[in-house]
Amino acid sequence: MTATGDNVLVARSITKRFGGLVALREIAFTIPRGSIVSLIGPNGAGKTTFFNVVAGLTPPTAGSVELGGMRLIAPAARAWLEPLIWFVPPLLVIFIGTLTSGGNIQLVAVWGLLALLLATLILPTAMARPPWYEAGVHRLGILRNARPNDIVRAGIGRTFQNIRLFKNMSTLENVLVGMHLKLKSNPFDVLLSTPRQRAEEAEARTKAREYLALVGLQGRDRTLARNLPYGDQRRLELARALACEPILLLLDEPTAGMNPRETAEMTALIGRLRSELGVTVLLIEHDMRVVMGISDRITVLDHGEWIAEGTPEEIRRNPRVIEAYLGAAPP
């Protein structure tokens, strides 16, 4: 999936309301390929909410997001059509059955069972949303939000503000889960333990170790994630996010809680991600040294509204930004 043009991500007029609270108001955003963009703002500005919208965890009240030219997040259109697809075929079957059975109860029952079987096949498939189903749905003009796993397939990986690792799985396994979409084995391959599956598993393990080495966690394959020190947990989360080979990486406060040395290491690591892997990065950060040091561009939010955007130099001098962080500027 290549980005058309220069922009990896285009967010248009994203608004998010929680009841009466407006968490985001018409946020518009573009992220050029290969850049590192920081999203900053005081607490409660809506930064994580924005991440959640882009990552498909919560639908926006209005607005849309395009990744690589594909509209992933969008307000619903013709959503009512979908339930029709589900229920019309079984109902049709029952209808035909009743008409052709001529009052024979047994026959009607059989048709009823067929309808039920059809519903059993259609509904879970619809809920699972395999790619061919999505394609068909798009062709009918039905739009609804992509699910988080679809977002990953489109090329976005993310980390979380309060580290969400799989605590009782090992380091290696955490990264292997990150590679979920890159592996192709299906249940049958697994059950029969075909050579292809075994080869794929072996390659996957090698690759996973490479990711671990990249973030500095080599040699600790079997350590349970819950037993890692804090800084290493953040690095593991990063490795897991990288494992899905994303075009865009969303990092939510990657250096939170780290001491200066770890922060410097993490910052350097993020820089290497861009230079070595060509990953575009959008980052939420509170540590201004990291932000100023590594960003190509910075966007500032306050109370859900966009207040400034520009290079680190421009932002440093922007009066609105200073006001948002420090209160009214002195006269």
């Binding site: 988080p148 889960v177 979920h180 350590t223």
Partner: protein, 394 residues
């Protein structure tokens, strides 16, 4: 922990073992078995299957029951082991609390009874029915699992409980289809050219042993695969799992389907063995007993669950019944007067409560859960040389 002693290869699993090279022999054996897994499974199952009929000839076991009765109970135990293994996938691996698992058991059993008995006059042979029953159960696994997908953990439990109640009720009330409360009798026994499956329990016993072996191999493969990891990820943190690319809907449905498949297999076998099915063989007690087996055996741990199921089953059906007869002639005051059969559920209840209070991780917890509950930090990395660890397990 103090460190001055030389490292003798102690691990949480084996605190004392060493050999000349300082690495526990038990650990080495474990590594070897782990690498050639399918073979070890076949080997150990063959060993156990051959040994059991002889072990029960030893007193006091011989006093409880005749050998044929023992072998018959082992077949019965096998049914529950299959059920526990299946539920282990749903509850232990994927973390979906299913309280109505008996529904799939019933579906497997009734599919066989309807298609292979004198009731309708249909006589589909046993062996293909195993596959067919499993497939039908899997379809129902998807059907009954689908409504639960958007629900939080405990709501999922109550809905599955609901299905577990609805299925027997449907069977009870559909007299035309299922003969209602009277059940279906005259269910066909399996047949092989030259081998009769009649009163002799041995063929059933061996068939079950083979079924279990196959299921073990398949389950271990699933465990260490992309799908197994996806299940565990969902169990740990569903949101993070979805954000790692896992389609939680499909994965959960697969868990239900695979869990139901095993129950379907167990159902077909049970129907063929008892030659009779009726709705009260599939009530909540069954769902709960299987759940208790999974939890007590050690959730997530395949062989732990199997052993737990075996132990609980034999205790309930054999030991408790025979305990009364055993103790009565001994004339211990007060104790010999007790009819243990009457107190079956009381004892079961006490055992459950005691077990949970003392060892909530189960008899044989998977090393993960033990760490989770008692936080030990044993690591045996030096045993896994880099290239050994590369190769995925057979």
């Amino acid at each position: 922990m103090s460190e001055p002693q030389p490292d003798r290869g102690q691990t949480a699993a084996n605190p004392r073992a060493t050999d000349a090279r300082g690495i526990g022999w038990a650990e080495r054996a474990f590594v070897f078995l782990h690498r050639h897994r399918s073979l070890s499974i076949i080997g150990s199952m063959a060993l156990v299957t051959a040994a059991l009929p002889f072990i029960v000839l030893v007193p006091p076991l011989s006093g409880f029951n005749a050998q044929t009765v023992w072998i018959d109970s082992f077949s019965g135990a096998g049914v529950y082991i299959l059920l526990a293994l299946g539920l282990n996938v749903v509850v232990g691996l994927a973390g979906l609390l299913d309280l109505g698992y008996a529904a799939f058991f019933a579906i497997g059993a009734y599919s066989y009874a309807i298609l292979a008995s004198s009731f309708y006059g249909l006589h589909v042979p046993f062996w293909p029915m195993l596959i067919l029953g499993a497939v039908v159960a899997a379809l129902f696994g998807i059907a009954l699992g689908a409504p639960t997908l958007r629900l939080r953990g405990d709501y999922l439990a109550i809905v599955t409980l609901g299905f577990g109640e609805i299925v027997p009720v449907v069977f009870t009330n559909s007299d035309d289809l299922t003969n209602g409360t009277n059940g279906i009798s005259g269910v066909d026994r399996p047949s092989l050219p030259g081998l009769a499956f009649t009163a002799n329990p041995l063929p059933f016993y061996v068939t079950m042993a083979i079924m279990l072996t196959v299921v073990f191999i398949l389950l271990y493969r699933l465990h260490d695969s992309r799908l197994g990891r996806a299940w565990m990820a969902i169990r740990e943190d569903e949101l993070a799992a979805a954000s790692s690319g896992i389609n939680t809907i499909t994965t959960k449905l697969l868990a239900f389907a695979l869990g139901a498949t095993t129950a379907g297999l167990a159902g077909v076998f049970a129907a063929a063995r008892l030659v009779f099915v009726s709705p009260d063989q599939f009530l909540f007690t069954v769902s709960f007993t299987v759940l208790a087996m999974v939890v007590l055996g050690g959730m997530g741990n395949i062989w732990g669950v199997a052993v737990g199921a075996f132990v609980i089953f034999i205790t309930q059906t054999v030991l408790l019944k025979q305990l009364t007869n055993f103790l009565r002639p001994l004339d211990i005051p007060f104790i010999s007067q007790i009819d243990f059969l009457q107190y079956q559920f009381l004892l079961f209840g006490i055992a459950l409560v005691a077990m949970m209070l003392l060892r909530p991780e189960g008899l044989f917890p998977s090393t993960r859960r033990q760490r989770e509950l008692h936080t030990t930090q044993a690591e045996t990395e030096e045993l896994w040389s880099p290239d050994e660890a590369q190769e995925p397990l057979a």
